[in-house]
Amino acid sequence: MTQPAPAAPGRPIRVLIAKPGLDGHDRGAKVLTRALRDAGFEVVYTGLFQTPEMIASAALQEDVDVIGLSILSGAHLALFPRIMEALRARGLDDVLVVAGGTIPGEDIPVVRDMGVAAVFGPGTSFAEIVEFLREHAPARDDAA
């Protein structure tokens, strides 16, 4: 398997990886976390059993560009709207939210309608995810 090329020097993209819900399998999330690190991202890994409030509050303080939600429990239709709502409540509408794990095909349009920009199924290569994040991480233009 080929590793994605390291990023050009410059501002690293900050990503929050979270496991919402009650399933206790974080292997996939950890492997992705390391793959993103190897592609030059700075990844805040927040671990298992995260509530929507925890995810949104961490995303706010860490000022991440991207939130990656890993979900295997099948509770995505219940959890994602609450997560998106918690983000909106904090003004984090511009953060890119993506999801991975086991989300059945027929749910993907539903999840995307909620504001999840991409759903990466089990077969997705890391290179594809890295490319997507580099391309879609929101641009910034801040004045102090």
Binding site: P6, A8, R11, V44, D63, G91
Partner: protein, 323 residues
């Protein structure tokens, strides 16, 4: 509205954004620091350092709870290493602190070391200045998990807590050098595990040689996991703060910290200018050193001369996104 106005107006997004700009040496971040830096100098900056896995993050989480119980707000800067190869980083300290999310009096920020060795990150001092200006009375800085060489924390913190645990390495030999000496407080964490009493005894012997006039370095057994000993630790941290203020040692440390911050910044600025300068001339110098036509010292003299000639150059160029 600018970020500083938004910070003053209580917008919770302002501080995180300012920290990002500062971390990235964005011109907007550097100019924000011009405003923020003079506002600071009030916070008690407490460093938490110790070997990887010694329980620093768990300890920080437990300390946060104790600090909050004492009625103070608290900010945390938690530093993890960047990969020297890819520049990426896994920032995992926050995992231990997730339970505190609902408390608006707690602010936690993770930061990658971005090439700096010694336990801190290039922008750690700038970030602490911003947290200080934002009004947090106490700021906890968790260093990269380090062995003996991770002692940069003394250039940033007024009070340094060195965390040790039983069962690492071969007793005192492993911990004697370097790191202990920077400790104002020595903590034996995981005192729920066997071996902690022996370690505490050994540390007490070493601690007799440490400390300064008026401050004996305490050795505190705690369990960050169960909360045992936490009130004593916070009590000792607060006592050290009083000692710093009363003895003049605090002022001495502030001057030392200021000079360290300027020297670190100077070194980094020179490196950036070299990197941005004529790489061909530099490559030639390096070749000459490699081929033993020139000593490293002469190459340094050559580079300094080149710096004098180079046009002013500041900020890193290029951006990862959209490329």
């Amino acid at each position: 509205m600018g970020l500083i106005d938004r910070l003053d107006a209580g917008d919770p997004r302002a501080l995180p954004r300012l920290l990002t700009l500062i971390e990235n040496r964005d011109p907007a971040g550097l100019s924000a620091l011009n405003v923020l830096y003079p506002r600071g100098g009030r916070a008690h900056v407490v460093g938490i350092t110790g070997p990887p896995g010694s329980g620093k993050s768990t300890l920080v989480a437990a300390l946060i709870a104790a600090i909050r119980a004492s009625g103070r707000t608290v900010a945390v800067l938690a530093i993890d290493p960047s990969s020297p190869v890819t520049g990426g980083a896994v920032l995992g300290d926050r995992i231990r602190m997730m339970e505190l999310h609902a408390d608006p009096g707690v602010f936690i920020r993770s930061m990658a070391s971005r090439g700096r060795v010694g336990g801190l990150a290039p922008a750690a001092a700038g970030a602490v200045a911003a947290l200080d200006a934002a009004g947090f009375p106490i700021i906890l800085v968790e260093t990269v998990g380090t062995g003996q060489d991770g002692i940069d924390i003394i250039t940033l913190a007024q009070t340094v807590v060195v965390v040790q645990v039983p069962g690492l390495g071969d007793g005192v030999q492993a911990i004697k050098a370097g790191q202990l000496e920077v400790g104002d407080l020595l903590v034996v964490n995981k005192c729920d595990l066997p071996g902690s009493e022996t370690l505490a005894r050994l540390l007490r012997q070493s601690a007799e040689d440490l400390g300064t006039e008026g401050w004996d370095v305490p050795v505190l057994p705690i369990s960050a996991a169960t909360g045992d000993g936490l009130p004593d630790l916070l009590g000792a941290i607060d006592r050290h703060r009083s000692y710093l203020l009363a003895s003049g040692e605090g002022d001495r440390r502030s001057s030392a910290a200021a000079s360290a911050a300027v020297m670190t910044g100077l070194r980094a600025a020179i490196e950036r200018r070299i990197a941005a300068g004529s790489s061909e001339a530099i490559a030639r110098l390096l070749d000459d050193v490699a081929a033993r036509r020139m000593t490293p010292d002469s190459a340094v003299a050559g580079l300094l001369a080149a710096l004098d000639r180079a046009p002013g150059s500041g900020h890193p160029v290029g951006d990862q996104r959209g490329g």
